[in-house]
């Protein structure tokens, strides 16, 4: 199979240019200009389109086992592919928790039945996400775990975090932190500030996040650990991470599209569609997140895809669960708010979807366009205008704060091990 005339953007090699790609047996065979097709070779003309390494989502929730009314591994994978992803890393807060080889094998086998998508589960740091006892790290790594996180819950006992970090790092694996001070968070519902005061809703102060980051940075410094901060949402968090990186700490960070495209000002009608953890912050925080993406403080854009049932999201905002379904809007939001808005170059944006997560997690066959590697690619139409219509989503969660938004730029083809999914 020959992909012709596409513009390749390969951040890893700092390459940008028109080139053809030959795919054979699921692998990239050749990358060159004007490759002559074999007789009867399937030719796909990608004139005017962009080919990038397949997108990686290093932070999502597929809900299975345990919460298959919200999402299943099947609908989650279909949704991810529909968003342009060739690799995903589901979090461990399933029920039972993905903290043992049995659940891990269950999710991996389930994913294999559905597609060849790169499926790299993140296992819990502590058994049952209880923050008490570290999981059997070696056993889980041998069975396919890619990283460790208690995401959904913070680890607030610094003794346990410190020991777990040293141990997990000793195998070369990273901890992904859900940084949060649960007492400061309390029963908060949206960001604490003018909007929460105006609406009369309990607020989540921004230091709920940054105070935990500050504390965890001391643990990382003390252990010389390798550590990744998930879903960064505040200005102060960006500042802390920027400073710590300058000082040489081995840390990386991620944010989600809603933290650079929406703010608390967008919350309407007490609609829990906007309820997410961390909460949508202020315009000033949005600006700081974008600056963090620009200067490299924030390495990765992940979705934190967190689907819920419509009945749950229709509950009063005080009772509704937190989370936004993100696979199918992520790239469009990034291209619209960052790339087509001239805040970030396309190469830098794609780097945060490909090269950087692949490097943090050590993914061999993702984030690359290289002869001999798996043909995991995403084809993007950077100029495509489209309107977000959640009823067309593949995820079970047909709700989105972006409903009705006009976005510019979309993945139109997801290529997984040479298999093409047209998602125009």
């Amino acid at each position: 199979m020959l992909l012709k005339n596409g513009k390749i953007i390969n951040p890893e090699k700092n390459f940008e240019g028109i080139s053809d790609i030959r795919i054979e047996n699921g692998l990239i065979k050749e990358i060159n200009q004007n490759i002559q097709p074999y007789t009867n070779e399937e030719i796909i003309d990608l004139t005017g389109l962009i080919i990038t390494p397949g997108l990686i989502d290093m932070h999502c929730h597929l809900r299975e086992p345990g919460y298959s009314a919200k999402e299943t591994i099947k609908t989650g994978i279909e949704s991810a592919i529909n968003g342009g992803y060739t690799a995903i890393c589901p979090m461990a807060n399933t029920n039972p928790v993905t903290d043992n080889p049995i659940v891990l094998a269950y999710v991996i086998n389930k994913a294999k039945e559905i597609s060849d998508i790169g499926f790299y589960p993140i296992c819990a740091v502590t058994k049952g996400l209880n923050g008490e006892k570290t999981v059997n790290v070696s056993e889980l790594l041998n069975n396919g775990a890619i990283a460790f996180s208690d995401d959904g819950k913070p680890i607030e006992n610094m003794n346990i975090l410190r020991e777990a970090l040293k141990y997990i790092n000793s195998f070369g694996a990273v901890i992904i932190s859900h940084s949060e001070d649960s007492i400061l968070k309390g029963k908060g519902c949206i960001n604490e500030g003018k909007m929460s005061s105006y609406l009369g809703l309990k607020g989540i102060p921004n230091i709920t996040e940054s105070i935990a980051i500050a504390r965890e940075l001391e643990v990382v410094r003390n252990t010389n650990g390798k550590y990744h901060f998930a879903h960064i949402s505040t200005k102060r968090s960006v500042e802390l991470i920027r400073q710590a990186k300058k000082e040489g700490l081995r840390i990386t960070a991620e944010t989600a599209p809603h933290y650079f495209s929406l703010s608390e000002d967008d919350i309407k009608n007490y609609d829990s569609i906007y309820k997410v953890n961390p909460p949508l912050r202020t315009k000033e925080d949005v600006k700081a997140i974008i600056e963090g993406l620009q200067d490299g403080t924030i390495d990765v854009i992940a979705t934190d895809h967190a689907p819920h049932c419509e009945e749950e999201k229709k509950l009063p905002i005080q009772d509704a669960p937190m989370g936004i379904a993100g696979f199918e809007t992520s790239l469009g939001v990034t291209l619209t708010y960052l790339v087509n808005n001239n805040k970030l170059s396309l190469t830098d944006a794609i780097r945060k979807y490909t090269q950087n997560p692949a490097k943090i997690l050590g993914l061999e066959n993702q984030g690359k366009i290289e002869a001999g590697k798996e043909a995991n690619l995403t084809v993007i139409d950077i100029n495509k205008n489209w309107i977000v219509n959640p009823s067309e989503f593949k995820t079970k969660c047909k709700l989105s704060p972006y409903e009705g938004y006009e976005l510019k730029g979309k993945a139109i083809m997801t290529i997984i091990k040479g298999k093409i999914y047209n998602i125009g």
């Binding site: 029963k187 609406l199 009369g200 809703l201 009608n269 007490y270 905002i317």
Partner: protein, 304 residues
Amino acid sequence: MKHLTDIEHLSKDEILKIINTAEEFKNGTIKPQIEGKTLALMFYENSTRTRCSFEMAGKKSGMNVIDFDAPNSSVSKGESLKDTLENLYAIGIDIAVIRHSYSGIINNIINEVKSPVKFVNAGDGTHAHPSQALLDFFTILENFETIENKKIAIIGDISHSRVAKSNIALLSKFGLKINLCSPSYMAFENFEKYNAVYTQNIKDAIEGANIIMALRVQNERHDKEGYPDSSEYKRLYGINTQLVKKYAADDVIIMHPGPVNRNVELSSELIDSDMGKTILEQARNGVYVRMAILNTLLEERTEV
């Protein structure tokens, strides 16, 4: 006015129409036109004054009043407020007066309920209490020939007070000068939006005030521990006769949405003084203002 959810959604004209209608009810110059309509009182949170006031307003308007027993209703069986409302409409209610501990619960479902039932927010969480603000405004207008250049000091637990927030929204629309006063942990973030002034010093707040509105400390809504106890609050923010006489304007009236904790936010002596008689006027006026609200909402429906 389709519903009464909060003050922000009312124009000055709509507010004045309610006030004028209430005045005519009070003077007996007009009669209610909504006889036989049905009102449901849906109080998911405790209330004495507001509940009785709406019941009286409904009965004086010739309405049937259904007292919905929220704690023992199907709500406790997991039915959503939206479904409860649809069912009550099917049963035959025209208007639902709702009190709830959740801010915004009515705003949230208003577009979801298909039935043409009317809503009145009788207090939602720490968000809004529009009928209270309207009756307070009515009472202020009754007590002063003009409200031009009048100054109100609102003192106490503003951040947790839906009464204060609705009053700030309403009185700022009519250009009153608003001084807000509270300890730091009860402050309202958005005072600038309403051209209000915030101070922690009670003397500054009531200096030259024509109206002093005291608020109850909403202990039940303080989920964060660690505030000083009420003796500290009383020492700094308790209002007594001497303080009022020394700093406030000569024509000052004392208001309180109730229930009052005597000798905490207001001294007993002040409540029982001539200046404090407005507090009972508020309760009395509440009935007429709520009659006006019910009549305005239901009259409009027949016009459509």
